[in-house]
Symmetry: C2
Subunit: 404 residues, 2 copies
Amino acid sequence: MPPYKDLSPKNIDLKVPGFKASGISCGIKKTGKKDLALLLSDVPANTAGVFTTNRVKAAPVVLDIRRLRKGVSRGVIVNSGNANACTGRRGYRDTERMASAVENALGSGKGSILVCSTGVIGVPLPVEKVEKGVPALVKNLSYDGLPQAAEAIMTTDAFAKTAVSKAGINGKTVTVAGFAKGAGMICPNMATMLAFIATDAEIGNSALKRALTSAVDLTFNSIVVDNDTSTNDTVLAFANGLSGCGEIKADSPAFKIFSGLLNEVSLKLAHMVVRDGEGATRFIEINLTGAASAKDARSAARSIAESFLVKTAFFGGDPNWGRILAALGRAGIRMKEDRVDISFNGVPVVKGGLDTGNETRAAKAIKASDVSVEVRLNAGRSSAKVWTTDLSYDYVRINSAYRT
Amino acid sequence: MPPYKDLSPKNIDLKVPGFKASGISCGIKKTGKKDLALLLSDVPANTAGVFTTNRVKAAPVVLDIRRLRKGVSRGVIVNSGNANACTGRRGYRDTERMASAVENALGSGKGSILVCSTGVIGVPLPVEKVEKGVPALVKNLSYDGLPQAAEAIMTTDAFAKTAVSKAGINGKTVTVAGFAKGAGMICPNMATMLAFIATDAEIGNSALKRALTSAVDLTFNSIVVDNDTSTNDTVLAFANGLSGCGEIKADSPAFKIFSGLLNEVSLKLAHMVVRDGEGATRFIEINLTGAASAKDARSAARSIAESFLVKTAFFGGDPNWGRILAALGRAGIRMKEDRVDISFNGVPVVKGGLDTGNETRAAKAIKASDVSVEVRLNAGRSSAKVWTTDLSYDYVRINSAYRT
C-alpha cells in the first residue's frame, strides 16, 4: 500500500513577498528529474540555521555554519542526487564553487549564498553540471517558483512538501512559507532532512535563531523515522523584512505570533516527512504526559518511537502494550510501572501498569492509518509529543536495495 | 533462508560435577513443547547474577535480586511461554509459589531456589500448571539433563544453545557449562535473553560476581539484535566447588584461568543468540579499534550495530560505508572523519575518510554469511567488539505477526 497521499497544499498561494525560487534539472540525476533549486530574497535577509549534530558533516553544512556567523544571506542553492559528504577537501571546494556560480550570476557578492546537498555520499559532486545549470536556474527564478524548488530537492520522497501560514502583525500581513525533503535514504546512504523557510517578517537574526531553534525542537527534532542522523540535515530560515510589520523583538506579543506561524509551518512539513517515511503504512503520534521533567517526557516518548519492536507491532496491527512498557523501562526516566496508563486511539489498554482486557477493541482501533498512543506516567506534569511511523517490509526493501 | 544451523555442540559432554538438570512440558505452551526447566546443584552453590537494566522488571527478576543478596542458592527453575512481567502483585506471589514448589519437593529450604520466566508479558502466569509439573521435573533430574533444560527454556529460538569449556586449575579439572535462550520476541512481547552457567570451580561469590560481570560485559552485553532491553534478561552463574581445585581468589592466576573459561562459554552462547537472531541472514562482527577511550570504542561499535540503515544494507549485500561513517558521527565520540579507515572482510573501503574505489570487491566480500566490519578510528588505543545481525524481511514478519 502506498501509505500517504500527497499532503502539500494544492492551488494555495505559497508566495512570500520578496522571495523568488526556481527548480531545474542540471543532469546530476540520471533520470533527468529536477535536481537543482534556488531560493532567493530580493534583499539581504536575516538568516538562521539548525544543522545536523552528526560529527561527520557534509561539506555544505561546514560552509553554511561558517557563513551564518554574520547571520545574513540572500538565499540558498540546493542540489539533489549527490550529498557532497565524505568527499574531503575537494568536496569543500565544490561547495564553494556552487555558491560562487550563483553569486557571480547575480552579482550578489561573495558569501551571500548558502548551499545544501542531498543524495549519494562518498562520491565527488559533479560540480561542472551545477555550474552549467546555474544560468537556467537563475533565469527561471519566479515569485511563483517555490513548488518547483520543492520538487528539485526531492530524493526518494513520494511527493514535494510545502506549507504556508499567515497572520497579521501590527496591521501587516506576515507570511511564512516553507518546503522540505524527507527521510529518503535509498539511493543515497542515509536519511537527509532539509527544510527551507522564507518569511517577510522583520526580525533580527538572534530573535529569528531563537524562534527557529524552538520550532525545530518541537517539530523536526520530534520526529523519528529510523533513529539515524544524517551528515547533511539542515533547516534554514530567511527573513527579509519586506512585510513592513515593524521589528519583532524576542518575547514580544508579535514574537509569539511569529513563532506560532513558524511552528505551524515546521510542524506541517515535519508531519509530511513522517507520512512519507520509507515504507510507512501508519502515522503514529506518541503523546507522553505526566512525566517528572521535560527531559524525561522527551526521552520516554523517543524510546517508544525508536523501538523496532513497537514499530513492527504497529505494522502488524498488534496492540502490543508490553513493548511500550518495556521501552519506557529502558528510557532511564523516573517512573513507577504500577502508575502507568496507556491507551491506543482512546481505547485504554493499560491501567496502573496492568492489562485492561481491551485487546480486541484496541486491535480494531489501531487498524487506522493514524494511531495516537497516549501514555500517562502519573509521575509529574511534563509532556512531549513525538511522531513516527511503523516499520514495514517496504522499509527493509527500500533500504536493502543495492545502490545502482 | 533459515540462516544458521544448530551450533550447539553435539555428542559433547555437558556434565558438570554435582549439577543435575531436567526439562519437561507442564502445559504452559499450547504446542505441548517443553516449557519447564530445573538446574540444581547437589550442594549449596555460590551464585552470582546479572539482570536487565530495564526499570520495568518482571516478577522473577525482582525475586532473584532479593534472594541473591546472600549469594548462595541451590539452583533455578525456569518456565518458558509466559514472562510473568507486568503482572503486578499477583505476579510476584506466583514467582514465590514457583520457587516454593521446588523447595518443598526437595526439602531444600525457603529461599534456596531462584526463578526465571520468559514468554508473553502482561498475562498472569498459570502457576498451577507449574506446581503440577514440579514432581515430574524433579523426578527427571539427571546429571545428563542439561540439554533437556536448554530445550525447555526456548521460545522462538530455532535451536537449543549450550556450551562447555574445561581447564586444569591446581591439578584438578574445572568445568564450566552453560545454556541460554535468545532474543526471540515473537509470541512474547520482547526479547528476553536468559543464560545459566554451572561450574564446579571453588570460588567465593564476590569473586564469582566479578568474573561474571566482566564476562557478561564482553559477551552478552556486546551483542545487538534489535536495541531492545527486556524486562526479564538474566544471566546466573552457580559455582558448587566440587572440583576440589582450591579456592580461586580474585586476581590470582587461577582466577584468570577461570575467567577465561567463563568468557569462552559466555561468548559461545552469546554468538549463538546472535546467529539465531530473528530473521538474521548474516552474522556481523564490528571490530572497532583506535578509539580514544574504552567508552568511545564501545559507543562507536554499538552505534554501528544499532543502525537500521547499516543492518538493512548488510541484508541487501550493499557495502554501504557511508552509513557506517554516519553512525560513527552520531555516536558522540572523539574522532576525525579524515582519519577513519574501514574494511569489510579485509577489503578496504574507506581510507582516511575517503572512498577507496573497492566497491565491487567489497560487495563480493560481504555476500558471505559472516561479515567482519573493521573500523579504525586512529584516535587512540582502545578497542571493542560488538556482534549483530542484518535486518531482513523476516525480522519484520516475525515481529509484526499478531499474537495468537
